[in-house]
Subunit: 341 residues, 2 copies
DNA sequence: CTGAAAGCGCTTACAG
DNA sequence: CTGAAAGCGCTTACAG
C-alpha cells in the first residue's frame, strides 16, 4: 500500500514550511512566484492531492451538493422517469461547472429522508427532485427549513410551502398546447393524468388546459378528466377506460409523455388511428417522444436551463442570499401525433 | 445561523467526557447501556449529527463511492444512454444498501479524468461506466492502477486491460438472439453497430452473431456489417444506407436498442414493414423497447444484478481483496419486431 | 513574503 | 466502563 504524501512531505522537500505549501497550492498571492512554482512541481511529482476531509473540516464546508431523487411511488425498482434522469444529467453538469461535487441518492417518498447531508457536513445544500406530492412532503420540508438546511425543490412555486422552488410553467404549457389543438380543429378532449393536490404539476397543466378551452369559447364540458399516474401502464389503462366513448373524443392531452406513450399503445391495440381518428399530445419531451409512431407532439421543459437554475439558486442560498422562486418557460414541440400541424 | 452542536456539547450536557459520547454514538459495547441511552437522547434533542469530515479524516476513509459516467462522445449534451441511466439507478441503490454515499460525475472520454476522487479522500473507490473505448481508456486505467486506486469498470472482462471489470456476456447475447432469428426462418442479416476495438461490447455481440450463423450452417456472407454508434440517428442512417439492397435482408440485428429504434423509424419512413418485410432486434432492453411499434425483441442485461455486482466487487477491493472479473448472464426478450415468435 | 501555532470535530490507543 | 490526550491533514489569523 502506497503511503499518501501530505503537505508536510512537500514542505520538507521544498525546504519551506507547511503553511507555505498550503498557500502555494491554493494560489495565494502571498507566496513568491518562484516558490509557488517549485512547490507545485514537487506536488505533481509526488502525486500529491489535498485531502478533502481535512480541508473541508478546516473550512467547515464540503463543496458538495446532494441531489435527492424521489421515485414515483408506484414505479418498479429499475425504472426512473426519463424526464428526471435528464434533469439529473443537467444538474450534474451544472454543479461540476460550479466546482461542486454531487452526491446522488434515490429516496422513497415514504422513507424518512429528512436527510443527513447538510447536518453531517457531507453537503452544503440539497436539491429535491421528483413529482412533488406536496401533501406528504410538507412536514419534511418544514423540518428542513427548521434546521436551516439549504435546499431547493424542483416543482411548482407555491406560497404555501416551505422553501424555494423552481419549476416550469405548467399552466402555460397546458394552455399553449390546448390552444394549438383547438386551432387545428379539435373540439373535444380527454385529459389523462391525476390532477389533484398530490400532483400539482399535473393539476397546473390541467388548469391551463381548461383555461384554453374557456378562452377559445368552447363549452366547459368539452373535456373529460381521467386519472393516471406518470407511467405507460397507467396511460394504457386510462385509454382503455375511455374506449366505449372513444368516438366522442377528438384529442387526448396526456399529462406526461410516459402516459402518452402508453395511451398511443392502447389506441393502436384497439385500432384507433393516431392522428387520423384521434390526436394525442404529451408533456415533457422525453427522448422517446421523437420516436413513437407517430412522433409525439409535446411540451418541452428545458432541462439544461432548469438544472442550471436549480444549482445557481442553491449556491446563492449557501452564500447567504435569498433568491426568489422561479418559473421557467416552456416550449411547444409540434410533431405528427396531433394531426394537421 | 444556528450553531451546530458538537460532541463536546453533548458531553457537557450528559456530564460525561467527549470520548464517551463518541463511543456511545458509535454503539460501542464499552459504554454502559444507561449512559448510552442518555447520550443518544441528548444527541437527538440537540439534533446532533456526527461531522463526516472530521470522522472521515480521523478514520482515513470516506464511506463514499464515486461513479464516473462516460458519455458517448457524439451524444448531445442532454442525452444519456438509457441503459447507463438504468445502471446508474441500480448502482445508487446498491451503494446506499452497503452504507456508502455515491458521488456521480459525467466525464467526457476526452477529458483528463484520471479523477481526483480517491487521492483526495473524497471516495474510497471508483466505478467507471460507459461504452468502453478501451483504446483511448487504456493509459488512464494504467495510471489509476499505478496509483493503487480502487476501481472497477463496467465492460467486457479483458485480460489485456488494467483493473477488474464486470460486464454482460455480449458474445452469448449476440449468439442467442441470432440463433433465435435463424430458428424462426431468417436467413440473411445486417448487423448495425461499429464492431471494432473502439467498441468491444458491440464487437462481442457481432462475434456471437457470426458464430451463430456459422454454427447453424448458414454461409458466412449471410450477414453484412454496417457501422453505427449507439444513437437513434445513427441507426436511422445505417438503414438508409442499406435501402438499395433492402430486399436482400431478412433481419436487422442492431447492436443496441437505441440503434434499433432509429432503424425502425427509417424502415417505417421508407414503407418497409416490421416484422412482415423485415425483422428487427436490438440489445439492452431499455424502457422504450416495449413501446416501439412493433415492440422490440432484444437482449436484456440485468442492470439490477450488474449494479450490485459492481458495488460488491469494489467494496471487496477496498477491503484489500482481489475479486475476479465477472461475466453476467443475459436474457432474450422476445417481442413482435422479430416476427413469428 | 514566510513560519509557528492554533484549531476544525472527531476516533481510538492508552491508562486507570 | 470512563477520561485525558494524541492526532487525522489541512487553513489561516497572527507575528515577523
Amino acid at each position: 500500500m502506497k503511503v499518501k504524501a501530505t503537505s508536510f512531505d512537500i514542505a520538507h522537500r521544498a525546504g519551506v514550511s507547511q503553511s507555505t505549501v498550503s498557500r502555494a497550492l491554493r494560489d495565494s498571492p502571498l507566496v513568491n512566484q518562484e516558490t509557488r512554482d517549485k512547490i507545485k512541481a514537487i506536488a505533481q511529482e509526488l502525486n500529491y492531492k489535498v485531502d478533502k476531509n481535512a480541508s473541508n473540516l478546516r473550512q467547515q464546508q464540503s463543496r458538495t451538493l446532494a441531489l435527492l431523487l424521489f421515485e414515483d411511488p408506484t414505479t418498479d425498482d429499475s425504472l426512473i422517469n426519463p424526464f428526471f434522469l435528464s434533469m439529473l444529467g443537467s444538474i450534474t453538469r451544472a454543479s461540476a461547472q460550479a466546482g461542486y461535487d454531487l452526491l446522488v441518492s434515490f429516496q422513497n417518498l415514504s422513507d424518512d429522508w429528512h436527510a443527513d447531508y447538510e447536518d453531517t457536513n457531507k453537503a452544503d445544500g440539497i436539491i429535491l427532485l421528483g413529482y412533488g406530492d406536496y401533501v406528504d412532503y410538507r412536514d419534511k420540508l418544514s423540518k428542513l427549513e427548521e434546521q436551516e438546511t439549504h435546499f431547493i425543490r424542483w416543482g411548482a412555486p407555491d406560497e404555501e410551502h416551505p422553501g424555494v422552488s423552481i419549476g416550469c410553467d405548467n399552466f402555460q404549457g397546458g394552455f399553449d398546447i390546448t390552444r394549438h389543438l383547438i386551432s387545428i380543429g379539435h373540439k373535444t378532449f380527454a385529459f389523462l393524468g391525476g390532477a389533484d393536490k398530490h400532483a400539482p404539476e399535473f393539476m397546473a397543466r390541467y388548469q391551463g388546459h381548461c383555461k384554453a378551452i374557456k378562452s377559445e369559447g368552447l363549452p366547459l364540458d368539452s373535456t373529460r378528466h381521467v386519472d393516471a399516474i406518470s407511467t405507460e401502464e397507467s396511460g394504457y389503462s386510462a385509454v382503455e377506460s375511455l374506449l366505449p366513448d372513444i368516438e366522442s373524443i377528438n384529442a387526448f392531452f396526456c399529462a406526461s409523455d410516459l402516459i402518452a406513450v402508453g395511451a398511443m399503445q392502447a389506441l393502436r391495440d384497439n385500432n384507433v388511428k393516431v392522428p387520423d381518428d384521434v390526436a394525442v399530445v404529451g408533456y415533457d419531451n422525453i427522448p422517446v417522444s421523437r420516436f413513437t409512431d407517430p412522433a409525439l407532439t409535446t411540451v418541452a421543459q428545458d432541462t439544461m436551463l432548469a438544472g442550471e437554475a436549480l444549482v445557481k439558486n442553491l449556491l446563492l442560498q449557501i452564500n447567504g442570499e435569498k433568491p426568489p422562486a422561479q418559473l421557467m418557460p416552456v416550449n411547444l414541440v409540434l410533431r405528427k401525433s396531433c394531426g394537421r400541424t
